[in-house]
């Protein structure tokens, strides 16, 4: 039973990560914005700015490249993330 639970947890985390990774930054940001309203007074509240900044980072095929983090689209997304 415990083994099944561990496997289910790993699969859930992997599915969430895949969905997060595939989503465009704009979709992720609007999702975080909606979450923020609900979680403002919860334990997650203080972490929302960090989550928003992570959501603004592009995850495309060139995500790991040093040249990809400073594009205008990223700056605009970061500015939106900083509003949260």
């Amino acid at each position: 039973m415990l083994e099944q639970l561990v496997v289910a947890l790993i699969v859930l985390i992997a599915a969430a990560y895949s969905a997060w990774h595939i989503c465009p930054a704009s979709v992720r940001l609007s999702l975080v914005k909606r979450l923020q309203k609900r979680c403002q007074n919860s334990a997650v509240g203080p972490f929302m700015p960090t989550i928003a900044r992570a959501a603004a980072v592009p995850n495309g095929a060139c995500a790991g490249c040093a040249a990809s983090g400073r594009c205008p689209a990223t700056r605009a997304a970061m500015a939106r993330a900083n509003e949260i």
Binding site: E3, Q4, V6, V7, I10, V11, A14, A15, Y17, S18, H21, I22, P24, N59, G60, A61, C62, A63, G64, C65, A66, A67, S68, R70, C71, P72, A73, R75, A76, A79
Partner: protein, 627 residues
């Protein structure tokens, strides 16, 4: 926008600007410790990039690396970025307080025009004579004191590729007086023809006073170029260079690939022996080790391919290849400026599409964006390598060439020819097949810099390993779950995977791909391949491992060789030449064209071509007895 004067706490805003390919990015990397891409040709930087540096005197600088420009009179989107940053026209960018105008010390005649134009903006400026080591080796002497006096700005020698090459520059920046910075944005007007002529005259006068250069006719560059740029020998040399590159990808990678394969196999067996049978063991062995291991195995081939590309880039050969191929590009109505974006697309279509900003003609830019996904990106290499390794025998052709390398070369050429065909159709439909002559500054020949080469390779390995440890690992776990659950019902006669979600999805899609000879397992692998193409290889490994057991985890190549026909393998290779399944590429096309119309068009035409070409390949191969 107003400029703020620096305080002890606030970092000073410094912008690096200069002509394309004068070494700005190398200097930027040296100053800030960044690892931005550098190459020995113009147009590598198309956006402003930022880094920080703390000088020995304790001043903090925010350094901007601006795209190369020949003039502030912008001709393309990347040059406009440089002009707008300097003039404080960008809303989210403060105007720089200090400028470092980087010049190629071996080509001052061209570089000084921009210096004189920028000087008129009134922003405090330092002139960096970059590549001063190369200039000294060529016997070029610049009287820096006199040049400084004539221009009215400090002049320092720099070497962007040497560890201490920017020390003098930092010391000079520390001494700069920022009080001279005007409160209002600098005024600039488009120069008239008379202004340009006056600037040229002034450059000639200055150079006559400060420059002592030997007769350029005796330079090695021109002697080498006479052979390399020859319309016949040049093309032959290019073909040999590319053939050698693809031969090496297969020949040199065999040993390290074998080591990784053996390591993955050993790890799978070790984990199997350590754990009792159950879902966790299946997840680790069939999902993670089989899936991720089957992609990781291609790392040596990717490293070898990029080592060649980076060495050719740094030597100055690639722009010459652009000139050789310009004739062919012109025939399909493409501008020579399309070459660099298309070349970048061999690594990944995304930076390639972004690099189209150097193309000033909007129709040419759009055509280049649409064909960039047809260039064989590195994510396709694992798929090609798996299929070639499994189906093409390791034999020598004409006593010289490895057949596997020749097939890989053929697939790359097929991608290029298809791209040219699509460009020709697009330009013809748009009524524009006029040839725009290629105007490009040829860089000087040089031996590839080991630091640049290692940095470039390190970046590629890092990107690949991040993908393997990130999205590929996550998707393998999800795919394992989809291939394992729900379990087969009691009394089921078929393999358990047939009853799983993955089996259901595969069987549902398969009729669409039946004319292409694709099995349902291949159809399952195509779906996660939309996030990243190489995931398809891992997905195949996981699906076969789940259906066949742990023993088959590390032998994907021999497994597909047994289960697929040669016709299916050829059709899948052709499918991947056109394969539209890369969502990030479509997203970046949307971003660059500001409309959904073009990504949808790209996805539609790529899918149509992939399906049609793979279908023709399969049916032809079956008719010839390869089915």
């Amino acid at each position: 926008m107003t400029a703020a004067t620096s305080t002890v706490d606030a970092p000073r805003r410094v912008a690096l600007l200069g002509n394309p390919n004068c070494g700005k990015t190398a200097l930027f990397n040296l100053l800030t410790g960044s690892r931005q891409k550098v190459a020995n040709y113009a147009g590598v930087t198309v956006e402003r990039k930022e880094g920080r540096v703390l000088s020995p005197a304790g001043h903090s600088y925010r350094v901007l690396d601006l795209p190369g420009a020949y003039s502030l009179n912008a001709d393309s989107a990347d040059e406009a970025v440089t002009r707008d940053v300097l003039l404080g026209r960008l809303e989210d960018e403060d105007r720089p307080e200090l400028l470092v105008c980087v010049t190629d010390a071996t080509n001052l005649r061209l570089n000084l025009r921009l210096v004189l134009e920028v000087r008129q903006l009134g922003i405090p400026m330092v002139l960096a004579l970059n590549m001063s080591d190369l200039a000294a080796r060529r016997g070029i002497k610049v009287d820096t004191e006199k040049l400084s006096k004539l221009l009215g700005v400090p002049v320092v020698n720099t070497v962007g590729v040497q560890r201490n090459g920017a020390e003098a520059l930092l010391a000079t920046l520390d001494q700069m007086d920022l009080a001279a910075l005007a409160e209002r944005a600098p005024a600039w007007e488009t120069p008239s023809l008379e202004d340009v002529t006056r600037t040229h005259r002034r450059v000639r006068r200055i150079l006559a006073e400060v420059l002592d250069a030997p007769d350029t006719d005796s330079r090695y560059d021109e002697k080498i170029d006479r052979v390399i740029m020859h319309p016949v020998f040049g093309l032959l040399i290019l073909a040999v260079v590319l053939l050698l590159m693809f031969q090496a990808v297969f020949s040199w990678a065999a040993v390290p690939m074998g080591v990784i394969e053996a390591g993955t196999g050993w790890l799978g067996e070790w984990v199997s022996g350590l754990m009792s049978d159950g879902p966790l063991r299946s997840l680790l062995v069939d999902g993670i080790i089989a899936g991720v291991g089957s992609v990781l195995i291609f790392l040596p081939q990717i490293v070898i391919l990029f080592a060649f590309i980076l060495a050719l880039e740094d030597s100055g050969y690639l722009p010459r290849a652009a000139f050789l191929l310009d004739r062919f590009m012109g025939k399909v109505g493409l501008s020579g400026r399309s070459f660099i974006p298309l070349l970048s697309s061999f690594a990944c279509a995304i930076p390639g599409i972004m690099a189209t900003r150097v193309i000033s003609n909007s129709r040419d830019r759009l055509t280049t964006i649409m064909i960039a996904p047809l260039m064989t990106c590195s994510a396709r290499l694992p798929v090609y390598a798996l299929l070639i390794g499994a189906f093409i025998p390791q034999q020598t052709v004409a006593g010289l060439f490895n057949l596997q390398g020749l097939v890989l070369f053929g697939l790359y050429v097929f991608g290029i020819v298809s791209a040219m065909f699509v460009a020709w159709v697009m330009q013809r439909l748009g009524g524009s097949l006029a040839h725009h002559p290629l105007m490009m500054e040829l860089p000087t020949w040089r031996l590839p810099n080991l630091r640049n080469l290692l940095l470039g390779l390190y970046e590629r390995v890092k990107i690949f390993m991040r993908r393997v440890g990130g999205i590929i690992l996550a998707m393998m776990i999800v795919l394992w779950a989809l291939s394992t659950y729900p379990a087969a019902p009691i009394g089921a006669t078929g393999p358990a995977i047939d009853y799983s979600y993955a089996g259901m999805i595969g069987h549902f899609i398969q009729p669409l791909f039946a004319p292409l000879g694709f099995s349902w397992e291949i159809c399952v692998a195509l779906v996660p391949g939309m996030a990243a193409r190489e995931v398809a290889v891992g997905a195949l490994a996981t699906v076969y491992a789940v259906s066949g057991g742990a023993d088959e985890a590390a032998e994907l190549g021999s497994l597909v060789a047994q289960q697929w026909s040669l016709a299916t393998a050829l059709a899948l290779m052709v499918w991947y030449v056109f394969a539209p399944q890369c969502l990030p590429t479509l997203a970046v096309i949307k971003r660059e064209t500001q409309t959904w119309r073009y990504p949808l068009l790209a996805a539609g035409y790529l899918f149509g071509m992939a399906w049609f070409a793979a279908m023709v390949t399969y049916q032809l191969a079956v008719a010839l007895g390869a089915g």
